[in-house]
Every structure is written in C-alpha cells, then in structure tokens.
Symmetry: C2
Subunit: 493 residues, 2 copies
C-alpha cells in the first residue's frame, strides 16, 4: 500500500521552475537550511508524504529512539547516539546514557594534557571507527591545532599499515585502538603491527583503548587509558561517542570538540519538532527512490573539506537502510535504501557530471554549500573571489539540471527535469558540521521508520565474515571442506 | 534490436556455482587476469554478446582508434592516448603522435635534474588533470623516492588551496599547472593563488606549464618549462601523457614512470587481439547493464593503494559513456554507461556491503586484487599474514554474494545470485598499474563502440559552465537577466 501510494503521486516538471518556488521551498534548522525548490515534489505530493509519515508514526519513533526505547529490535537494544551529545545541562532525554557519556568526556578532558608532546595520532579501527571520525577530521582540519595530525588505519591490507607508519616519528606518536568487542579481525591485526613497530623502535607502546567496559582491551597493563563505548551506540552512529572524541579533541582541542557535539545536539532536538529538516530530507529521498525509481543518491559537497563525508554517508545510509526485511520479518515489497556516492564540486563537474546531465539514469543530488570559506584565505581574480566562483557553480548546476537546454544539435540537448536540493550553512565550522552529521543520521532514521525496517542492525555483514574465517583456515594449512574457495585459491596462489 | 537481443539472453543462476566454472572462466592479459565465473553470463549468452560485438565492429573500431582515425566524431579528432605510450621501439601504430610523445618524454628526462632539491610538487589542474595522476600517484606511492611528495589542487574552493599550501616550504616546492587551452576557470584561479603565495614568501614563482603548444601558457617568461599536450588526447585519457608524466616521474623517477607506460602499452596491444580481456570486461558490463538492468557498477580494490582509483574511473567511465545520443545523432533506446563508484576492501565490508548483500538493488562488483603486497612489510598473526587475510576476505565475498545463505530467520537470509568478477595481478607495481589503467580505458571504449556512442567528447559539461559564468557576473555586480539565479543568490548571501 505504502509503495502503491508513492507510485501514483503528483510530480512537478522542473522545466516550469519559477523564482517564487525556490524562495518558498525552504526549511530551516539550527545552523542549516534545506532548499528544495529544485526537487520534483509538489505541495500536494509533499502533503501525501507527510500523511504517510504520520501513519508510520515517525515522530513517535524518533522520540522513542532518543529516549532510549528498544528501536534496534533484532538485537533488542536502544540506539542512543543522541545521548552522547545530550550533555549540555538541560534535562537529558535518556538520563543514564547521557550520564555515562558525560563521565567519559570528563575522563577525556582530564587525560588530554598527557598528550601534550604528541604530534601524530594513529586511530586503528574499521567501518564506523574510521569513516565517521576521518570524515569529521578532514572536515575540520582547518580548525586543528598547529602540528597535530591524525591518521586512520583500517584495512587488513598490510600496505595500509606500512604506508601509515612509514613517515611517523614513533617517539611523538600515540595509537588509539577502537573496537567495542575487542575482537575485530582487521583491528586486532593492525594493533599487533603497531605494537611490533614500537618494539622495533625500542619504545614502549603508547596505545589508548576505546572499547567496551571489561572487554579484553579494557586493561591498564596494556593501554595508557581506556575510554568506554556501549552496544547501544552503533558503529556508524558513533562519531560523537569516544570513537570520535579522542582523536578529534586531540586535534581540535576539547572545547572545539564540544562545539561539534553542541551542533549535533541542537539538530537532535530540532528533529523532535513536527516540522523538521531531517524529516523533509527523508521524504524527498523516499519520493526520489520510490516514486521516481532512482536507485542512487549522490551527495556533492561544494566544500573541499568534506571530501571524505560521502564515504561516511555510504556507511551511515547503506548499512542502515540497505535491508530487505521489515521489522516484522516480512520481505519488503518495494525498494529501500539507495546507493549513496559522491565527490566534491567543482571537481565532479569535470568528471561524472556528464552522466548527470546527459546520461540515461537520473541521479538525485544533495548539494552541500556554505556562504563563507573555512580558512578565509581567498583571492579576488577578475572581479570575484574563489568562494563566489564556487557558489556560482553550485547555483548554475542546480538550475542547469532542472531546466536543461533545447538545441537543434541532439548532442547539445540537455533534457533537464533532474532533481536536486541544497543543504546550506554559513560556514563549515565545528557546530555546523555537528548539525550536518546529525541531519543525515536523522534523515536515515526517518527513512527507516517509513520503510518499516530496522536501521540499527547489520546482519548482512555476517556471511562474508564467516566465510572469510574458513578461507583464512585454508591459508593457515588447516583442512577445510570448501571447494569453491579451493578453486579460487588455486588461481590466486 | 541491440537492446531487445540483450533482454532475452540466457543467465546463469549463481546458486549452482561449481569449482569447474571458476577455473574455466578466466581470461589472461599482460600483468593481469580476469576471473568471471561469478558473473551471470552463460557460455551461450557470452557467444551472443560476442556476436553483437562483431556486428558493432568493435575490433575494427579499436584498431581505428589506435591508428589515429577520427573516432571522436563530434569534435572531428582522433583519440590517441595509446600513442603516448607507443614509444618502445617497435613500429608505432600512429607514427606522428608517438614521435611527438617521445620528444616530450626526452625533454622531460633532460629537465628532471633541475628538480633535484625539490621535495614537494603541487599539480594544479582539474578533472583528468588531477583524478588520473592522483589515482596513479596514490597507487604507486610505495615506489616513490624518499622525501618526494606530490599534492593535487583542483577545486575552485579557496579552502583547497589554503589547505594544500599551509604546510609547504615554498623554497623546496615546484608547481605544475595543467591546462590544454590555458583557459580553465579553476586552474587559472588556483595558479593566480600559487603566484600570490610565492610573491608573499618573497620567492620567484617556480611553475611548470603542461599545455598546448602556443597556448597562452606556453611562455618561457612565466614558466620554468612547457611540456606539450594535444587535443587528440582527452583529459580523462591523459595520465600517460605529460599530464601525468611530470608529477609521476618527479615522484617515481623517470625509469619507473617508463615501466608504467610499458604496462599500459602492452595492454593496448593486447586489446587488438580478437580474444582480449578489456573486451570480455566490456561484454560483462553490458550484460549487467542491459540484461540485468543494474544502474551502477562498483569497483572494489582489495589494495589500499588504489583508494583513489574509483574516483578516476568515475570520470573515465561516466564522462565517456554517460551519453544519450548515438554517433548518428539519434537518442539511444536503452541504457548506456552505469554509475561507477567504490571504496577499498576490506574497508567497504564494514560499511556499504550490508546493502550489497541484503539491499533491494543488485550492484555488480568488479574486485581488484593482488597476490603480493606492495611494501612486503607484513606480520604473521595467528598463523596467517595480513595479505592472506586480505585475500581470504576477497574470496569469501565473491562466494557469499554468489551463493547466499538460507535461514529460518528472514533477517539472516542472503538471497545470493549477485554477480561479481575479479581482476587479479601479481603485485601492484608500475607496469601492472599501467596495464590496469589501460584495461579500464579499453573496456570503456569497447562499451562505447557497442552502444554506438561517442566516448571521447563531453558536451554535457557545457551548460553548467555557461550558466556559472552568468552567475559569476551577477556576483561581480554586473547586470544579468537570470531570475532563477537571482532567487538563489538572495538566499545564499
């Protein structure tokens, strides 16, 4: 029924785009605005989408999530990433979790002076222990303290470790190992490599653990310190927990890290209002996915600092909503989460934008732009600054995709009518990036609520893990009955 | 007719995968093999695909391309990237172009000693002048001379330049500006910024031009040297020309750069054989796109060094084949180039692989793997090396995607029957990466030949450029009649 209603909704022909539509289709949130006049929803289809949202009780579910009810039904857990930043003095929505978060923040604040002489921090972790923190670090590098660098080591590929450690002075390096269970294959292997590097350099290993309380890694004999994470914060939602906190406050300082949390927290509260920006973003995405039938969604930041942000969103969105089964255990009857991808503009314009304008697939775009640059280091060339040229390109793309161009030469025809939207902020600073992160988290959650799926588990990664262990056993010379793998091994070795 | 034949082809059910299929569906090329037993083609559909290829005269077109006939029909030019590496003494297929390429290589070899004291090279260029060279530099960093670093500056975003120049010692820095016409907005703006930085530091600007002969940038008064490129080498195919040569031979040394060219050249010659690996790759892609209807294709290198390779392939593939009009000027009646995306494994396994296994969209995967690591710096943990763990994961994923898993808990069901293939090499070294680059170039070209489109122009980027200039004029305070832009500007400023 849900998918059937979506299929027959009204759609706007973007060839008829008018300034008044651009000016009226705007929703505001803390630090950010969403401009969606260049999407294909009409006032009517938006009303219908809101009715579907109401029927799915998305606001009740958002509140349930933030107050700590069990929304991760398959694993029977709450999903309390919002509690990690609900630490600003008002009454927190999930008291216990926020108290735990606050305690770790205080521990961290007291610990940071111990890292004074350290120049380089290597974070070992994979998935959410790497993608989110890396995206935020890159996004806020402009605000980092001079001489403080963070490196991320994730891959079990030995070349990743070799490349990271090649140029480091281990005397001034600290390693942070992130694993909730203390059992992730890639992470343990890379930790062993790090320990070996310290040993070879004749140095004591300087390693911090971010892990579950009482996990094998929660051990003062082996680690400088342990900071705790809990199973009610999923990996891809964990950047505002200690998973991101240690590395980011090392680089940015504790106060700027708290600004980042503040921005996220304000967006969390905003997402509880009936008319909120993440919900509108979610509805637009559902319209594009289930009405227009678009298989992908691209995120194009016109901000070089966000160059790794799409990689984080890939995990956030595709791991949360790349699901085929509803919470009730039925196979879904329509499409769920899209394939998310993207690179910064203007770079993309000189790359894949050809397909966006003239290809046979429609790709809905989520642009991200800021009025001001981060460094404020700009140059006026031929009457405009680089920042103005950047924004000019962003505006031009939104209009070009929407309106297209007629031409007697078929090669110069742009069919247009291609949807996009813009998330706009003043400047990419810690609080704004916190709000941007939380916007996407809640957009994804709202979409999951509407599709009736569980956005907080990841059963789909298990089979590969299980089979990999069998192949590892084959490599180790154990006798394993796995003929398909044996055939591939014959070619590979 | 083409698309109708494709729709009704035979397909293999991967639940029935047997070791014998894995062992027999392999095609070999210089430096690389393609394993495609985990794709859904049957012997019969492959035969039909080959018949379609024959009908489209793809081998004649490949030869026409490499010998310098006009294959870029809209711009009335040859596409002679292969001539850039056809410099190894045999009779070149396109004599004049290869002679030009050889002359530039000799100029470069003679020039390189002038860069002896230089530690950092900043390449300013966008699109093909950045993505390809950056991908190859990252891919071969393990082989770079100690203390030589390359940085890429593309974006008109002022923060890109600020971040790149922030940590450089300009006394030991050389800048390479790449623009064929000498008129690219982003590149000229960033060159102006670079000159300003040298000036502020009280240093003469040390800048090399890579440009067309007699372009405004071909000027010894303003540049240390000029290296030439020609309009018969398109941006996205230009990494083996001077566009990549200057930066890569600075970092790797001239001889290793020549090894890279050699690998590409051997794949070029291989692509002229009737049974060749790029053609098989192309046919598999067309089957997935036009028979299975998959809108995207992911490239997942199990090699951390290739972390920027998918970004290069995005441009190569989507800018070449994201087209809606045939060479004859008709609108196509089926789907052309897919959306290309990807991140390295095993990282992706902890991110978007959830959707690949259990999402509602099928994503065909092109895995890339190597038997040996680049650095050879590895550690045996619990009986296996990291390289073995890496390959184990790769094998496990191919099998898991193909065969899936039944389960009484619907959340643990993996439907399987999801196609993938593997490009396998011995080690990611210069020659192998050259071959890999050329494999993808020719795969894309063969697909373009089959779809009947022009893979060598990019008319789709023009409209955005044109509109951006109008918005820039508005920012500069000129009177411009562009109401849609005025509306967006009102919100943005």
């Amino acid at each position: 029924m849900f998918f059937a209603i979506l299929k027959i909704m009204d759609e706007f022909d973007l060839h008829n785009l008018e300034p008044s539509r651009l000016l009226s289709m705007v929703v505001e949130a803390p630090y950010l605005k969403l401009l969606f006049g260049t999407e294909k929803v009409t006032e009517e289809s938006l009303r219908e989408l809101k009715a579907l949202a109401k029927k799915a009780k998305v606001m009740e579910q958002m509140r349930a999530m933030q107050t700590g009810e069990i929304v991760n039904t398959s694993e029977k857990r709450p999903a309390l990433h919002t509690a990690m930043r609900d630490v600003f003095g008002e009454t927190p929505l999930a008291k216990e979790a926020s108290a735990l978060a606050k305690k770790e923040l205080e521990k961290l604040k007291a610990f940071l002076p111990q890292l004074e002489g350290v120049t380089d921090l290597v974070q070992i972790g994979i998935g959410g222990s790497s993608l989110g923190p890396d995206a935020i670090y890159q996004g806020l590098k402009a605000f980092a303290k001079p001489g403080k660098r963070v490196h991320f080591l994730s891959n079990v590929d030995p070349d990743d470790a070799a490349a990271v450690f090649r140029d480091l002075d281990l005397k001034k390096t600290v390693v942070v190992v992130v694993s909730k269970s203390g059992t992730t294959l890639e992470t343990l292997t890379n930790e062993a490599i790090a320990r070996e590097k310290f040993k070879k350099a004749g140095l004591p290993p300087k390693i911090i653990a971010v892990t579950g309380e009482k996990s094998p890694m929660d051990d003062p004999k082996n680690y400088l310190a342990s900071f705790y994470i809990w199973d009610f914060v999923g990996g891809r939602y964990s950047v505002t927990s200690m998973v991101g906190a240690v590395a980011l406050s090392f680089a940015l300082g504790f106060d700027q890290f708290m600004d980042f949390l503040k921005g996220a927290h304000e967006m969390d509260r905003h997402a509880l209002l009936d008319h909120n920006m993440p919900l509108i973003g979610a509805l637009l995405g559902i319209f594009n996915r289930n009405h227009l039938g678009c298989e992908t969604a691209a995120v194009i930041p016109y901000a070089q600092g966000l160059h790794r942000f799409p990689a984080h969103l890939q995990q956030l969105d595709m791991e949360s909503n790349g699901k085929q089964v509803t919470k009730k255990g039925d196979f879904v009857t329509g499409e769920t989460g899209p394939i998310v991808w993207g690179e910064p503009g203007t770079n993309g314009q000189h790359s894949f934008f050809q397909l966006l304008h003239q290809g046979t697939s429609i790709v809905p775009l989520e642009f991200i732009g800021f009025k001001k640059s981060q460094y404020g280091d700009d140059l006026n060339v031929q009457g405009t600054t680089s920042q103005q040229k950047l924004l000019s390109n962003l505006i031009a793309q939104m209009i070009a995709l929407a309106t297209g161009q007629e031409n007697s030469d078929p090669n110069k025809v742009f069919l247009g009518n291609r949807p996009s939207r813009l998330i706009l902020g003043e400047r990419l600073d810690p609080a704004t990036l916190g709000a941007l992160l939380a916007y996407f988290e809640h957009k994804v959650a709202f979409q999951g609520f509407m599709w009736g799926i569980n956005s907080f588990d990841q059963e789909g990664v298990q089979l590969g893990k299980k089979l990999a262990l069998k192949v590892i056993d084959q490599f180790a010379g154990k006798k394993v009955d796995f003929p398909l793998s044996s055939a591939l091994l014959k070619i590979l070795s």
